[in-house]
């Protein structure tokens, strides 16, 4: 029995996490708008909590080409990795959209790594930092790194932790100028981090709604 198949978060906790992520995405969109000088659409219509194998399966089903990812490590009460993922073929389109589409192709190719890293940094930091702030915790976030490969390669960063790990999988819609780029944010966490996140969500829900969640099946 895999722990990721049991409902670790309640519906309200998942709702709270989705709300935090959307607030983060809203702030990231505002920062990106400053960077690119045009309106940026960045929304997270859906999130899912899956196992590492589940995340690879989702990517395999939805994307049948090579992927590119911006990867950052976060450390604190919750420790893990965050990846912004989209199809590799969209990479140049994204850079063109972000830079305004006036640059010749050779310049775009040259700028690709840097523009990807910067865009990823704004989106991932926007999400992670907002979540951390609203949960009243601080997170250390590493510099962005670019990775390319199939889904399983992106998640094959280290041997899976003994207790298993989970992936918080965010489906994102990202559009700038005429480009519409579907992508994903994956946050890879081990079990202790997920349990810490759950406790922080319970506190957050109590703080913002005044409602104390009852642990109906908690061990005394």
């Amino acid at each position: 029995m895999s722990p990721s198949e049991s409902p670790i978060l309640t519906d309200l906790e998942l709702d709270a996490l989705t709300e935090l992520v959307n607030i983060g995405a809203g702030r990231a969109a505002t920062s990106l708008r400053e960077m690119v000088g045009a309106q940026v659409i960045l929304t997270v219509p859906r999130i899912a909590l899956v196992s590492r194998a589940g995340a690879i399966e989702i990517l395999g089903e939805r994307e049948n080409e090579r992927l590119v990812a911006v990867h950052q490590v976060f450390q604190g009460e919750i420790t893990g990795r965050a990846l912004l993922i989209f199809p590799d073929t969209k990479s140049l389109e994204l850079v063109r959209a972000v830079t305004g589409g006036e640059l010749p192709l050779e310049d775009i190719v040259e700028l690709e790594q840097e523009a990807l890293a910067e865009t990823g940094n704004v989106i991932l930091n926007g999400c992670m930092a907002t979540i951390a702030n609203l949960l009243h915790r601080s997170l250390k976030i590493s510099l962005p790194e670019i990775m390319r490969g199939e889904g399983f390669e992106l998640f094959d960063l280290q041997p899976p932790p003994e207790g298993g790990d989970v992936v918080l999988f965010l489906f994102i819609d990202f559009a700038v100028r005429e480009s519409d780029i579907r992508g994903y944010v994956a946050m890879l966490m081990d079990m202790p981090s997920l349990i810490a996140l759950k406790a922080l969500l319970v506190e957050f829900i109590e703080r913002t709604t005044g409602v104390v969640e009852r642990e109906t099946d908690a061990h005394p």
């Binding site: 309200l12 709702d15 709270a16 607030i23 983060g24 709604t209 409602v211």
Partner: protein, 130 residues
């Protein structure tokens, strides 16, 4: 002055948590009761079903977004005090809210921001009733 509820605020957000959070803030404002909707369709139905005096609308919702809903409500109730709530304060969104005569409030909403919106709404509603 009376402690009885005089006005109703329609809270529209696809997140239950966000609606609950506004509910908590609203409970500090005794003149106001709350109606809730999880999307634009529910919001329009609620506004047609019961008297609603003001509305706070999440910008980022599946289906029609908060600005589209604001335009619709504006067409139905030209003088209703409206606020758009979002963490996304890009100039295009803030300006569109202002064009629709809606206030723009940052998410997460604070008690002060809601209080100010309700004060303004009460003043406007008081004038309209007088």
């Amino acid at each position: 002055m009376t402690n009885e509820t005089t006005f109703k605020l329609l809270v529209v957000d696809d997140s239950k948590l966000a609606r609950m959070a506004v509910g908590k803030l609203l409970s500090a404002n005794p003149g106001w009761a709350r109606a809730e909707a999880a999307n634009a369709d529910e919001a329009v139905a609620a506004a047609q079903r019961e008297p609603v005096h003001a509305a706070v609308l999440d910008f980022n919702m599946p289906g029609r977004d908060g600005l589209q809903l604001a335009a619709e409500l504006r067409g139905m109730y030209p003088s209703m005090p409206l606020a758009i709530v979002s963490a996304n304060h890009q100039v295009e969104i803030v300006n569109r809210a202002l064009e629709l005569g809606a206030l723009f409030l940052s998410k997460p909403m604070t008690a002060e921001a809601l209080r100010q919106f309700l004060d303004t709404a009460e003043a406007r509603l008081g004038t309209a009733q007088a």
